[in-house]
Symmetry: C2
Subunit: 498 residues, 2 copies
């Protein structure tokens, strides 16, 4: 069903021709070919170039008409003024799909009409061509040839990203690709990403239509500057959010933001209030911050939604517990005081200096199974909370290892640090029952380790599937956003029953 | 003048006795001794222990009275109930300074009075002892023995931090020390840090008094749950903020936050509205988020304050530019459209697809001197903006190096990557004139590289003194906070003139 959608061909081409590539890294087309090589693409690649013989090892053709087959896709990175001619040549060849990277079309004119854009739109109609762009950064498909784990169709992202079910459609190339420059974002995983650019032919609504029935898309990220087909967008989004959450950054509503948009894609930002009501009506999770966009997506990627907005806090330090509680309530979450029964149970097993009302502050304690397994289980089973933030999953062994490097300490210290392998097993043992409970009770759990994201303990936690943050602000904010979606779903379900 | 303040002795002791240390890493007192060793402390260390002979290589004494001198400082990590007896013994010995780490005093009682606390307060009065705590995590002084770059008096922080002029006083131990677990925070540098705990004897106001005249403290960070001496705090803060900015996290105002506080330090959080008005009256920069606390401090650490709230944006990608502009305006900053003159000047040097109204979007371009030097200089000189965020200071060479590792690419690619040394020199050359201009025109500049903080290019930028962020949300939010302080200063200066 999904394979019938016309966009599927853009993400799964068996052959691609490139205009504008050479062997120098400064060219975007070259970078795109390098991305294909790096992601083990095994389709045919046909560089078109007036005088080079080889581009990155691929035989070069002087013109599209010399290419020995009709490529499934053509990518163009050439100055705007010669693009109409290239479109015509592609049309003659029988090309049906083009990704037009080049800028310099609509965004440079004041009257928002441009003969160049009109020209290529007309040519594409005449030849039955569909095209993405202009002024875009390409596409990414981590689900190209589903059997091969290490193959992707990727012309836009530098990092080889782990497979995921998060799919993006973006009116900014940076939001569709460059936010993946930092491997810290890798835990999220990515499914597909489409940079739509100026939307002269294919727009965000097309992408939503495609993602709606895509089995490898379970939640969707959007970056929006304007909507060309508002009504259609509203209808589609309303339908999709019942099954797949959508998270969106919308830019607009400020004078400076609107000016930036006009210069960027030449778009006039819509009325902010209209967008606000569209988001509310459709249950789209809205954020202004790209980090929050990624954080919300990371939580959604585990597929475990909270049932309500009651937060349980487990901490081994009072300050962070208090800040989490305070911010959670300010963000609209509830931090309920536990029932007398639960408080009694907790008091019985906690050290005498601990608190047990919510937040649970178990103070400085190195009994790991009790911290990682027992406490979260008690909260999840209690039914008194819908989600957990656990502060203080510190890499105690990492800290100790670091101290041992100092000669004097190494000589006298008597602490047992399990070897790497044992630590691997330990973390797996500590997390497994809790992550299973998290699924069973549908209670998301977010961990906070103030150490570096790539410290050994942090890496172990992440490898075992923990949602990990370095400080405690972001998990609160992101959970509050996720809860707006949960509340929306409840309301829709209530409406459909009544 | 500052050395006369009684707190100075707590931060510069020539000898320390420790109760509760052993050779096992699980004890806080052991960790404190290890921190002293790691930070090359060369004063005398006297562990007190009933049966061990050596702790981390130091000779152990059975009792404080056996110690061959009167230690400048005593640190206690023992169960609360035996602390009064220890205080008495210390008093008899002639000890004048104690840091009482142990919890289990006020925070465990419901009526907020505790005979244990009363008892130690009385004992300390009788013997003329001043003490920090109970329920705290110790102190940190990066300015111990000013001549030796690598010496600190540090009993609370794991990492060896670079020297800085930022000093902290905190009612949470985690806020005073554990936020430094991640070396990503190291760019900030730290001067001094005092974890005040329950404030049974020494409180936040004492710390402010001390920092006020401390030449190595140029800006101050506070974490507040309550104020014991509100009027004094107000007076002092009002005086200090005219010379040294203060940034504070205050927790309270929500039901859950207050409950957490009661459990944490046993304090009743003050009325949120009173705190709000204190912050407003004193010009203290207020935030709820610990990351923002660190971000604001990082900006302040450069000692360059904007003169107003007009933001200039330089970007090589439209999306981030638009988001920055939009959020900046929402946060109360201005993103003014440049004058016709400046626009013309910019248009003349920018590529034809660029925008030049603010944001400046110079699009994909690899002319580094023009991006790093020319554009910021034009903005700073123009007098039309007060601060700059520059998006897209990407490590282009890093990306290329990574591609070259792939065999096929390495074989055919023709790009010149300067050797490490040349890149070092290049970054220094690119940043130096801009950072000098930043100082000269008093226009802070914040850089954003979406790559990892520890990628080679990011490291080079940071090493050369750039304020670097990975994404573009945080710099906007932090600058908006800094501007609240700038506006306060203007108002106060206006008032004092009129």
């Amino acid at each position: 069903m999904n394979e019938d959608h016309f966009l599927d061909g853009f993400l799964n081409p068996k052959s691609v021709a490139f205009y504008g590539a050479n062997n120098k890294g400064q060219s975007l087309a070259s970078i795109q070919i390098m991305n294909l090589i790096k992601s083990n693409y095994d389709g045919n690649i046909y560089p078109i170039h007036p005088y080079l013989d080889l581009v990155m090892g691929y035989k070069v053709y002087r013109s599209i008409k010399d290419v020995p087959e009709i490529p499934d896709l053509v990518v163009i990175v050439l100055p705007a003024k010669i693009v109409p001619q290239i479109f015509r040549e592609c049309g003659e060849k029988g090309i049906k799909r083009i990704i037009l990277i080049s800028g310099g079309f609509r965004e440079l004119t004041d009257d928002r009409k441009n003969t160049l854009t009109e020209e290529i739109v007309e040519i594409s109609k005449a030849y039955g061509i569909r095209f993405i762009g202009p002024n875009c950064l390409g596409v990414f498909n981590n689900w190209y040839e589903k059997k091969e784990e290490d193959k992707a169709f990727n012309i836009s992202i530098w990092e080889n990203l782990p497979k995921g079910y998060f799919s993006i459609a973006s009116q900014s190339g940076t939001l569709s690709s460059h936010i993946w420059f930092d491997p810290e974002n890798l835990d999220l995983g990515l499914g597909k990403s489409i940079s739509v650019g100026n939307e002269a032919n294919i727009d965000i609504v097309d992408c939503l239509e495609y993602y709606k029935d895509d089995p490898n898309t379970k939640f969707i990220g959007l970056y929006l500057e304007e909507l060309k087909r508002g009504r259609k967008f509203l209808e589609l989004a309303r339908e999709i959010t019942l099954k797949k959450p959508i998270i969106a950054i919308y830019v607009g509503g400020s004078k400076a933001g609107n000016r930036a948009l006009e210069s960027h894609t030449g778009s006039m930002a819509g009325d902010f209030r209209i967008f606000e009501s569209v988001f509310k009506e459709t249950g789209i999770i809205q954020t202004d911050q790209v980090q929050e966009f990624l954080d919300v997506a990371l939580i959604l990627s585990k597929g475990i939604l909270p049932k309500g907005k009651r937060l349980g806090i487990i901490t081994n330090s009072g300050g962070p517990g208090a800040i989490i509680a305070n911010n959670a309530e300010k963000q609209g979450l509830e931090v309920p005081e536990f029932s007398k029964e639960l408080q009694k149970k907790l008091k019985d097993i906690l050290p005498p200096t601990a608190s047990f009302k919510n937040p649970i502050d178990c103070t400085f304690d190195t009994n790991l199974p009790y911290f990682y397994i027992t406490l979260p289980e008690m909260l999840m089973k209690s039914g008194e909370i819908d989600m957990i933030i656990q502060y203080g999953v510190v890499g105690f062994f990492d800290v100790m290892m670091d101290y041992l490097k100092v000669e004097q300490i190494g000589k006298y210290a008597e602490f047992d640090i399990p070897p790497e392998e044992e630590q691997d097993k330990l973390v797996s043992k500590l997390l497994k029952p809790t992550l299973e409970n998290s699924k069973k009770y549908s209670v998301p759990i977010l961990y906070v380790n103030p150490m570096n994201f790539n410290s050994p303990w942090s890496k172990r936690l992440r490898k075992n599937g923990a949602i990990l943050f370095k400080l405690w602000d972001r998990p609160v904010n992101a959970l509050a956003k996720v809860c707006t979606y949960v509340e929306f779903l409840k309301k829709r379900q209530f409406e459909s029953k009544n």
